[in-house]
Amino acid sequence: MLHNLSIGELAARLNSRELSSVELTRHFLSRIDRFGPALNALITVTARQALSDAAAADVRLGRGESGPLLGIPLIHKDIFCTEGVRTSCGSRMLDNFIAPYDATVVARFKAAGAVMLGKANMDEFAMGSSNENSYYGPVKNPWNSNKVPGGSSGGSAAAAAARLAPLTTGTDTGGSIRQPAALTGVTGVKPTYGRVSRYGMIAFASSLDQAGVFARSVADAAPALQAMAGFDSRDSTSVDAPVPDYTAALARPLHGLKIGLLREFFEGLEPRNAALIHDALAVYKELGAETREVSLPHLPSSVPAYYVVAPAECSSNLSRFDGVRFGYRCENPVDLLDLYKRSRGEGFGPEVKRRIMTGTYVLSAGYFDAYYLKAQKVRRLIVDEFRAAFTQVDLLVGPTTPTPAFDLGAKIDDPVTMYLNDIYTIGANLAGLPALSLPCGFIDGLPVGLQLIGPHFSEDRLMCAGHRFQLATDWHTRLPAGYA
């Protein structure tokens, strides 16, 4: 079936005209029709536009043009602005917001000829680890509809796992690509901070947000990252550094790779989960890698530091949603204060409000030093510890999450327990490091993720290591029952 083919195979068929982009697009649109509603993976389906874009891609293919993504369908997380298409960010606040421009990520995929099928569900403003914070309702995990898919890019992850598109985009502020990738058994790549432009990606926490991609495999993710990556003059924090050929990098040998095991990642890890990680390490050893233990003593402080820095930035970033120029506005405001209070009070959901309040608090006079400044110091220590670790090893390996997918509703009333889901992923965000999550086994029928973290701009090395693992294992080829 088409949805089980790799992007390389699809591109080959498209380029040989054996398959048209319209046929391929119809195939995935019909899967979206069939599985999308039950999973609640998409907020908006842009079928008509998709078919017209696919027809345009076919014209280009017919002219002899080719490209790794020309005519390939994809789904964007609904955090990326898409011109003329609702961009809700999972929030009532933007339920009526038709973006007047394309995010750089969206524009680059368009230029590469990829065909957007729709916009994926997500936790409101990317705040959440279960996709239960969406104004559009929770997303279900394709492996078990009573389980969460993870968040905040839960719709993108579920869509990739259910093969509703060969590629889906996501954003990762504290684990929002890797954690749902792990919980739904797909490959998720979070690049180095600054590798991919944030322009047009609705900001949650500007110093942590980074766009990335979900795919069946690392080999499929490589051309997608290739299309997204690179300097953008409209994002001052994007980095003007050459982008290597990620697909070519997959062929490099792994022999002699030094892999570090993060001691802090294994403390308190559930034994079955730990066993799967150790199995993965055994695979790497067979492939010629060396492993050694590495410690980052301040890593356990990453969660509290993150939950100061991220809310602080979000409290300011979300001030623009005031009911004045776009988005939700309350009915019949009596005065300016009423307009602000009710538009924001009615437009934002509880988790967003919780983080705005936390962020406002930690930035206020008298608390700034004790919270914000201290968190920045912790962040600096974590950055330094990672840097020191990477003088000894090429990559760090550990679990992506402490447990497989949990039940819908299990943690929604306990924010702190929910926040602890990101304990293994947040460090890479605080340090701006690239990281990816790969399927590495199952516990009780639910996928488990292996996380690889590399030094800044080592996506090529990371993806090579991920690809080698996927050549040696078949966890990533498993499909949830009912989605064949």
């Binding site: 602005c81 961009t87 973006a99 001052s236 001030s319």
Partner: protein, 484 residues
């Protein structure tokens, strides 16, 4: 009042004369239709990001160097958070802890000629807000965001000024400087140059400052003077009446010439400043600073000193003539076409008749009806005694209104001075003959009548008699002697 000392510090906002805004590509021109110069960045649409205008940075560096300040090799943009409809992001991008310019100073000349140094604490870059329009729409307020994002340099002085006059002198000096540097057009009606004044009083001899009030948005030198005078009187009266000054923000009412309370310290916002994660710190090396230094024009104080020295002008004249680059250039062009020897004559004319004519017709010096070369040729006719200074005024007015050369006017109106002794003598004879009583009185000792005879002769010649020559001839004649 004698026992009170006034303490004043100014925060001057100079709008930088860049073509585009500080963080977006929109134009900054004044007076465009509402919201025609506001793009998605200015409107703070979801997902957009600021990109710093390098020209604004260069202008701030110029200012820093011109006031002998420390130009920071690393400065940081911070967010100042508050809600207001004319502030689309809900925060203003400014600089807080690490401004681009710190520790400068400026000299002002007091009424008694003494020179006083005013400290400049800092100058930082920030963006302007938009404008709320309350009288345009029925039952609604409008928002014009054309001004939102306009680059400002906020120049903060030390509390070094001790009177409203000193404050005005300082503000004028900064005004001159920013126009010299061509970093601000100085247009106060359009709000390109405005200030907030921090005013307090304390008993003479006490070191501790009194509680200060901040008077907002003063946009003329006269308003600064009036507002400070009012505020000082108000504070003294309050304290002497047993009350105390509240720390508050006050507004100046230019119709009533009074200040009134806007908000007290208790109502003041907690701005929750923190570094803007969307912008990298501004960093440059010494060579950039040195390149900017090399591009600085001759500064007002340097020019005044040179005028005083090279042209033997009084410090006052040198100061007036160097008050703007254009005026200084005009003056120098007149001197160049005339001669340095007659620089004082040129100075008197530029500061006198030329300035009055410009003021009368509300023209800038660049739009003068009389060019420097033309003025110099008029002055040359005074120097070579073709006309008297008095006739020259008439010629100047004719040059101004008819736009003809000095020589043409002198020629066509027959204004050439009578220097022929014979011709002058015959007029004198006629005058003496017509006034026998006055002649007799003079000769009997009424010396004061000398002026009467001078007046009569000039009346008869239409003022064309060379004054020195007339005096000489008349004196001889009145003494009853024939000229030699």
């Amino acid at each position: 009042m004698a026992q009170w000392e006034v303490v004043i510090g100014l925060e001057i906002h100079a709008q930088l004369a860049t073509k585009s805004k500080i963080f977006s590509g929109s134009a900054t021109a004044y007076g465009a239709p509402p919201n025609s110069q506001a793009d998605l960045v200015d409107l703070a649409y979801p997902g957009v990001l600021p990109v710093l205008n390098a020209e604004a940075v260069r202008m701030a560096v110029k200012f820093g160097l011109a006031v002998g300040a420390k130009v920071a090799e690393r400065s940081v943009f911070a967010r100042k958070n508050y809600f207001y409809p004319d502030l689309p992001k809900g925060y203003q991008i400014s600089q807080y802890e690490l401004p681009i310019v710190a520790n400068g100073k400026l000299e002002i000349v007091l009424d008694d000629g003494a020179v006083k140094t005013i400290g400049i604490t800092r100058a930082h870059l920030e963006e302007d807000a938009g404008k709320s329009l309350h009288e345009v729409l029925p039952n609604a307020s409008g928002i014009d965001l054309n001004r939102a994002g306009t680059p400002l340099l906020e120049i903060v002085s030390e509390p070094d000024m001790r009177s409203a006059k000193e404050a005005v002198a300082y503000m004028k000096k900064i005004h001159t400087l920013v126009r010299y540097l061509e970093i601000c057009d100085g247009n106060m009606q359009e709000g390109s140059f405005r200030c907030d004044a921090n005013v307090s009083v304390r008993p003479k001899g006490r070191e501790k400052f009194g509680t200060r009030a901040e008077i907002k948005n003063l946009n003329s030198f006269r308003f600064v003077e009036k507002a400070i005078q009012y505020e000082v009187a108000r504070q003294i009266e309050l304290i002497e009446g047993g009350g105390s000054v509240l720390q508050e923000t006050r507004l100046y009412d230019s119709d009533k010439h009074e200040t009134r309370s806007m908000r007290s310290k208790e109502e003041a916002n907690d701005y929750r400043y923190f570094p803007d994660p969307d912008l990298l710190p501004v960093e440059f090396d010494r060579s950039f600073i040195e390149r900017v230094r090399a591009s600085l024009p001759e500064l007002p104080d340097e020019k005044a000193a040179r005028f005083a020295k090279d042209f033997a002008l009084s410090p006052y004249d040198a100061g007036v003539l160097s008050a703007s680059r254009e005026l200084g250039a005009y003056f120098e062009a007149v001197v160049a076409a005339l001669s340095a020897e007659h620089a004082k004559l040129a100075a008197n004319w530029v500061m006198g008749d030329l300035s009055s004519a410009l003021n009368r017709d509300a023209l800038d010096i660049g739009a003068s009806h009389v060019s420097p070369r033309e003025l110099a040729s008029l002055l040359a006719r005074i120097v070579d005694a073709t006309i008297s200074g008095k006739i020259a005024k008439e010629v100047f007015e004719a040059m101004w209104s008819e736009r003809k050369s000095a020589d043409d006017i002198i020629e066509s109106r027959g204004l050439k001075q009578i220097t022929d002794s014979g011709a002058m003598m015959s007029v004198i004879d006629a005058v003496l003959a017509a006034n026998p009583k006055q002649l007799a009185d003079y000769r009997s000792g009424k010396d004061k009548l000398f002026g009467f005879f001078v007046g009569q002769v000039q009346k008869a010649t239409g003022g064309k008699a060379n004054p020195a020559q007339l005096n000489e001839l008349l004196r001889v004649k009145l003494a009853g002697k024939e000229p030699v």
